[in-house]
């Protein structure tokens, strides 16, 4: 890896911050769609979220180009954010 600082910082942000957002949003979406009591669905989402988080961090340093990386991370997060927004049950916090 070329240790060029702006590019590196960009990947770091995509992985650490983008990864957290992606993992959290995906877990929320999962907790809405899983066919089980909501506490169990939330617990399942949380259990899986860290694997996804780690995956995104690894991907952030494996992706060929920064553009593709950010497009991927933001696209993933945005897609599941919208899906979760559409599916959110009445009485959810948002």
């Amino acid at each position: 890896m070329q240790a060029r600082w702006p590019a590196l910082l960009s990947r770091l942000c995509a992985g650490v911050l983008g990864g957290y957002a992606a993992a959290a949003v995906f877990a929320v979406w999962l907790s809405y769609v899983l066919p089980m009591p909501r506490a169990d669905a939330v617990a399942t989402g949380v259990l899986i979220s860290f694997a996804l988080y780690a995956g995104v961090i690894v991907y952030a340093f494996a992706a060929h180009s920064l553009r593709r990386l950010w497009f991927g991370v933001l696209g993933f997060t945005g897609f599941f954010a919208l899906a979760a927004l559409a599916l959110r049950p009445a009485g959810a916090g948002w």
Binding site: R38, D40, V42, A43, V46, A54
Partner: protein
């Protein structure tokens, strides 16, 4: 493209590992010691009598109830931990009712003699519990801050494991490969072998470590379903744990039924000696409940339980401890992490895996310096890493040994001695770090390893001079819980001494310029040192190379050869 991918993964592995390596080393070391927390507790309270027969569950509930009724009569919750072989004392906990403004009630605890049920008064000590809790709680900081630091480091560890597996070119072909006396190659071998052989353990311990604090990190996921109200988290947990009873007492007084028949019923269902605890909610209330828990018997952390109505003694329900799949998965992960179900052999295997993990991190940290010494040996960053390595990989073990010394040497009646046991450990670690920065690093390694050897190796002697629970007594009596601590300490001392001898000898050989160490010798003593000395084994070329500039002369570096 495959090459570039592997390269970037290698980069990620190196830097995530380096950045948090010292914290991870601390976590692994103290956490590994934590597998023997109870044994260390006993060792650190030599006043405890050696108990041959554990108290029966029925006797325990009678004695426990009697104590709790006179010492915590209005509690919201009583907890009686039945003595077992590993925890021979009768341990009691209680929590008072919440006060008027809804704050959680005060808690209390007591330990009773398993034969006479008299309160016990042993010396105050942090014991194995303090050592164990440091691995996630750190020290000198609020719990929340520690959880975030530990969480970030654990995430880094997970990344390091994933990338490590990706960049390991020949995970199966090099499965058994460990070549001594080949400088950098040897360190890489050691790091690889220690990682791969205990990979299931490393992966389990890391992911489950994250799951412990998952709800702190992933609070937004709970919020998204439960809202932002103050009790949102509570209602989540109540739903998850299927809590229905015991929320609040009725306020109508009713005598608590005798506990003995309930315990006998549990023993009839599970077998004698299988009851681990009895928990009573709202004793003295009409809505009192008595929950009886099964001993640790499987990786599932939540035990099977029987719940009785406290006012009429009726069996309300039996639970197998599994409420839902996600909760069971979580319980298994956490249960595997803690290993409370492990008997003596499995506990040793856990300990061994933990030692391998600690050594893996140490070997990785040393590998970082060995790899870069030739090119960047004078850079500030390199020197910083090298010094921190000495002060942590050798210095932290010295500090842990000092914690054991403090337990014996701080007078029993000194106020705040628990705090000072902890202070001793961190003061010594600080001194070791300072020493590493003052001394030439080659010398610092040897000196600190010798210090570690003495500090660990003499613990049985110290124990013999200060207590009557030394090896001369514990070995003939077959009290392995106590003898094991002394013997393990001695073994660590021997391992550190071995590492120090190997390093010291190599340093001398180099100065006399007689040969290139590691190239012309057979698999001498240095060959055997690596694994038993864990991370502090032969520092191999690192030490030799460092002597060069210090002595003002350039040294041929065997590792730099093709």
């Amino acid at each position: 493209m495959k090459g570039a991918f592997r390269q970037s993964m290698g980069w990620l592995h190196t830097w995530t590992g380096l950045l948090v390596g010292w914290v991870l080393f601390f976590m692994f070391l103290t956490g590994t010691a934590g597998y023997f927390d109870t044994e260390i507790d006993s060792w650190m309270q030599p006043e405890r009598p050696i108990v041959q027969n554990a108290m029966t569950a029925t006797a325990a509930v009678d004695a426990g109830r009697q104590y709790l009724e006179s010492n915590a009569p209005n509690a919201a919750r009583w907890f009686i931990a039945v003595p077992s072989h590993r925890f021979p004392e009768l341990r009691l906990f209680w929590r008072m009712s919440p006060d008027a403004d809804g704050k959680r009630g005060r808690t209390g605890r007591a330990r009773l003699d398993p034969e006479t049920a008299a309160p016990l008064n042993y010396r105050d000590t942090g014991g194995g519990q303090l050592l164990y809790s440091m691995h996630w709680r750190l020290h000198y900081m609020p719990v929340r801050a520690a959880e975030w630091i530990v969480g970030v480091c654990t995430m880094f560890m997970l990344i390091a494991i994933v990338t490590g597996v990706i960049i390991h070119k020949r995970i199966f072909r090099d499965f058994f490969t460990l070549r001594f006396a080949k400088g950098q190659r040897s360190w890489l071998d050691a790091h690889n072998v220690l990682s791969v052989l205990a990979l299931p353990f490393h992966l389990m311990i890391t992911y489950s470590g994250l799951i412990f604090i998952a709800y702190v990190y992933m609070t937004p996921v709970i919020t998204a379903s439960y809202g932002t109200a103050a009790d949102a988290q509570d209602s989540f947990f109540n739903e998850l744990l299927r809590r229905t009873d015991g929320a609040s007492p009725s306020g109508v007084a009713a005598d608590l039924m005798p506990l003995r028949p309930m315990v006998l019923e549990a023993e009839r269902q599970w077998g004698e000696g299988r009851v681990r605890f009895v928990e009573i909610r709202h004793p003295g209330d009409r809505d009192a409940s008595v929950r009886i828990g099964h001993e640790w018997a499987s990786p599932v952390r939540r035990p099977p339980t029987l719940t009785f109505n406290g006012a009429n003694g009726e069996l309300l329900r039996a639970s197998d401890g599994i409420y839902s799949t996600p909760l069971a998965v979580r319980d298994v992960l956490l249960g595997l992490h803690e290993g409370l179900f492990a008997g003596p052999v499995l506990r040793w295997l856990y300990f061994l895996s933990g030692v391998m993990g600690t050594a893996m991190i140490g070997a990785g940290m040393i590998l970082w310096t060995v790899k870069r010494r030739a090119k960047k040996g004078d850079a500030f960053g390199f020197k910083l890493v090298e010094r921190l390595n000495v002060g942590t990989l050798a210095g932290l073990p010295v500090a842990v040994a000092a914690y054991f010394w403090a337990n014996r040497l701080i007078p029993v009646d000194v106020a705040g001695r628990v705090a000072w046991e902890g202070h001793t450990m961190f003061i010594v670690w600080g001194v070791m770090l300072a020493h590493a920065f003052i001394r030439p690093s080659a010398r610092a390694w040897v000196e600190q390893l010798w210090l570690a050897a003495a500090a660990f190796g003499l613990i049985p002697v110290l124990n013999g001079l200060t207590t009557d629970k030394h090896l001369g007594v514990t070995l003939p009596a077959g009290v392995w819980e106590l003898a094991g601590v002394d013997l393990t300490m001695f073994a660590f001392g021997a391992a550190f001494a071995f590492a120090a001898i190997v390093l010291g000898r190599r340093g001398k050989t180099l100065k006399s310029g007689a040969c290139h160490p590691g190239e012309s010798r057979g698999p001498g003593p240095q060959a055997r040192s690596r694994l038993d000395a864990t991370a502090h084994g032969a520092l191999d070329s690192g030490i030799r190379r460092n002597d060069g500039p210090i002595e003002g002369r350039e040294v041929v570096r065997p590792n730099d050869r093709p």
